[in-house]
């Protein structure tokens, strides 16, 4: 692994107006890793992900991606640097077809790769190929999540940010989605930063994990390590391991 992490967040504090959402967060994602961030509702997980994307911007601290300081860059510029995001709640373009959704995802990518990238997306999620001319809004929740990930992949990212991809999905579909993430990581070497409430699945999938409580990172370690910790079991896994 490289000495320099692909993404390094150090001492970041983010505010919504006067309310502080992140209280000095430091974490890093190395090239080729799957890193997960788990925590309860409202802990600030999504805020950290959005802060990495520059919306809202961090008030203090530094975010360095691939050696460049991106803390103060506007979102669309950050997204041009090889970071792609599947946002919380999927945010599919409901009246537009699957193909159109994918095309918009490819806005920041070189158009020359489009056909190959579409092919890759359809190989990863064959369901999307069947539904390619259907409106995004008519897809099932699982299909929409697949589309959200495929849409982010169309940007040919080096770092993929996923915000709660398992939200509201049936266990079987969650397995499918997580399987696809693992495949992307293993075959394409894609680096993934995964925000999840489904701690069990996330920690099993990830190489490393962070735990966030009230806007602070309270624990970190490898996925297996964290899974074995008693506090984690008590707080996040009771009844959740299915």
């Amino acid at each position: 692994m490289n000495a320099q992490p692909l993404l390094a967040v150090s001492d970041v504090e983010t505010f919504y107006g006067r309310i502080q959402a992140l209280r000095g967060v430091s974490m890093e994602v190395r090239q080729g890793e799957i890193v997960t961030l788990i925590g309860a509702n409202g802990a600030g997980k999504s805020t950290l992900m959005m802060t990495i994307c520059g919306s809202p911007q961090a008030r203090t601290g530094r975010i360095v991606y691939d050696g460049q300081d991106i803390t103060a860059l506007p979102t669309h510029q950050i997204m041009h640097m090889g970071i792609a995001q599947s946002p919380e709640g999927r945010r599919i373009f409901g009246r537009m077809t699957v193909m159109e959704n994918l095309m918009i995802g490819a806005s920041v990518a070189d158009p020359g790769h489009f056909d190959a990238d579409i092919e890759r997306a359809f190989t990863l999620f064959p369901r999307l190929k069947d539904r390619r001319e259907q409106r995004g809004g008519t897809l099932s929740g699982g299909e929409q999540q697949m589309l959200a990930i495929a849409r982010a992949l169309m940007a040919r990212p080096r770092l993929l940010l996923l915000d709660e991809p398992s939200l509201g999905l049936a266990p079987l579909v969650v397995k499918q989605i997580f399987g696809a993430i693992r495949e992307l990581n293993q075959t394409d070497g894609l680096t993934v930063f995964l925000v999840e409430q489904n701690a069990y699945h996330a920690l099993k999938l990830a190489h490393r994990g962070y735990v966030m409580v009230n806007g602070k990172i309270t624990m970190s370690g490898t996925g297996t390590e964290l899974l074995a910790r008693e506090e984690i079991r008590a707080a996040y896994l009771e009844g959740g391991a299915h």
Partner: protein, 440 residues
């Protein structure tokens, strides 16, 4: 219309009577003031003239209509088969999409031939020019409202900027229509960007209010900037368009003379007709092209979800500004045409009701639908003319029609959206699958 709660109560006479009583009171309150009292101009002021019979008749129609609905449609037992079987409905939808494919081209051929049809007279041609102006304005606004999803209530401002730009440039510098037309478009687009900047962070209702204010500001500036715009007197004697330099004059060197025709005042009207037809088609063509380009797709994505757009690396600032600028530009073109056709413009032509009418055309036609705008323009502008006889009730009929259409077709007359890209060949998807989903 409080119809939602009524079905169960319909069969109980007491409740039915109460419901009809409320209906009678409400309709009397509405029609009593709107129809029952009428102001007449008399020497020295206005006089109130009661018209109670008309008001009572209208209220009676409402009560009887509701009674009939109670006894028929609303009293149907729960789970009864729908009045229109699904099969029939699907077939109607299919027929509609089928005719849609030939309808557009057929309409275009009709539009091209219209001036030469035997029944076409000056009146029909004038009306067609008016309808086409609104088609063009509707198409222009459709870029902003229908595609980019930015609710703009002040679109008439750009129409005004275009009209005044043409009028002032042509009057002061003597430039020709063909030089002023693009300039009017550019100036309007420039004002579109000026409007765009302050409203970048606004959406929905807030955006609507600011755009509404913008429309009014432009009109009031035109009204008060007396030495520049002529204020309420407007600008008259605006140069008429020439046939690429050849004026539509009687005598030597005129259009009729040059082409060896007998002079007819219709030549100019026919030319104006083709001019606005060409401008409208240009608007349509550019919109259709842009929809298939990244920028058009970005507009539509912006309408669907602004946050998702940003998270995919789209610069929403420039996406919004281009939408405002492009829409405004076509409004400016239409304004320049309006000025040259009328020969006289004043702020009176650019009131809020115009913005509302153009927006009504877009919404009624189905947001984002090009052919829907045409149908809605013909229906609204043509409808105004048809009901010119029933002058007193024109707005009432208009309002009732709008309410009914919005009940039956809440997404406008043409609610289907044509995808902008297909993988390999077109694959037809049944109407049930592509209906609007709620899965945001």
């Amino acid at each position: 219309m409080a119809s939602a709660a009524s079905p169960a109560s319909a069969r109980r006479p007491a409740k039915l009577a109460a419901d009809l009583g409320v209906t009678a009171l409400l309709s009397l309150a509405i029609f009593g003031t709107m129809v029952g009292l009428r102001t007449e101009t008399i020497p020295g002021g206005l006089e109130l003239q009661p018209q109670w019979t008309s008001a009572l008749a209208l209220a009676a129609v409402a009560v009887v209509g509701r009674l009939v609905l109670h006894l028929t449609v609303w009293s149907r037992p729960e789970g009864a088969p729908p009045l229109l079987p699904m099969g029939v409905r699907a077939r109607v939808e299919q027929a509609a999409t089928g005719t849609g494919k030939v309808f557009g081209p057929a309409l275009l051929v009709f539009a091209l031939l219209l001036p030469f049809l035997p029944f076409t007279d000056r009146y029909i041609l004038d009306l067609s020019i008016l309808v086409l102006t609104y088609v063009m304005l509707g198409w222009g606004l459709n870029i902003v409202v229908g595609l980019a999803g930015l609710l703009d209530l002040g679109y008439v401002a750009f129409y005004a900027v275009g009209a005044y730009s043409y009028a002032l440039l042509a009057m002061h510098f003597g430039w020709s229509f063909w030089l002023c037309l693009p300039l009017a478009g550019i100036l309007a687009a420039f004002w579109g960007i000026i409007l765009g900047f302050p409203v970048l962070r606004l959406r929905g209702d807030y955006l609507a209010i600011v755009t509404l204010a913008f429309g009014e500001i432009i009109r009031i500036v035109l009204l008060n900037w007396y030495w520049f715009t002529g204020g309420p007197d407007g600008i008259s004697g605006i140069p008429r368009p020439s046939f690429f330099g050849i004026p539509f004059d009687r005598g030597e060197g005129g259009f009729a003379d040059t082409f060896g025709l007998d002079f007819s005042s219709m030549h100019r009207i026919i030319f104006l007709y083709f001019l606005i037809l060409a401008l409208a088609l240009l608007t349509n063509f550019v919109t259709m092209r842009l929809r298939r380009l990244p920028i058009g797709r970005a507009w539509e994505a912006l309408r669907e979800d602004e946050i998702a757009c940003r998270s995919l690396g789209l610069n929403t600032t420039s996406v919004k500004l281009t939408a405002f600028a492009t829409g405004a530009m076509f409004g400016g073109f239409a304004g320049a045409f309006f000025a040259t056709r009328q020969g006289f413009i004043s702020p009176e032509s650019f009131t809020f009701i115009e913005s509302a009418l153009i927006l009504a055309i877009v919404v009624l036609g189905g947001m984002g639908s090009q052919i829907g705008v045409v149908i809605a323009s013909v229906a609204l502008i043509g409808g105004f003319e048809v009901f010119r006889e029933a002058e007193d009730f024109r707005m009432l009929i208009f309002g009732v029609a709008m309410v009914l259409i919005m009940i039956w077709r809440p997404r406008g007359l043409i609610a289907t959206r044509e995808p902008s890209i297909f993988l390999r060949e077109k694959k037809s998807v049944s109407g049930a699958l592509v209906a609007q989903g709620e899965g945001h």
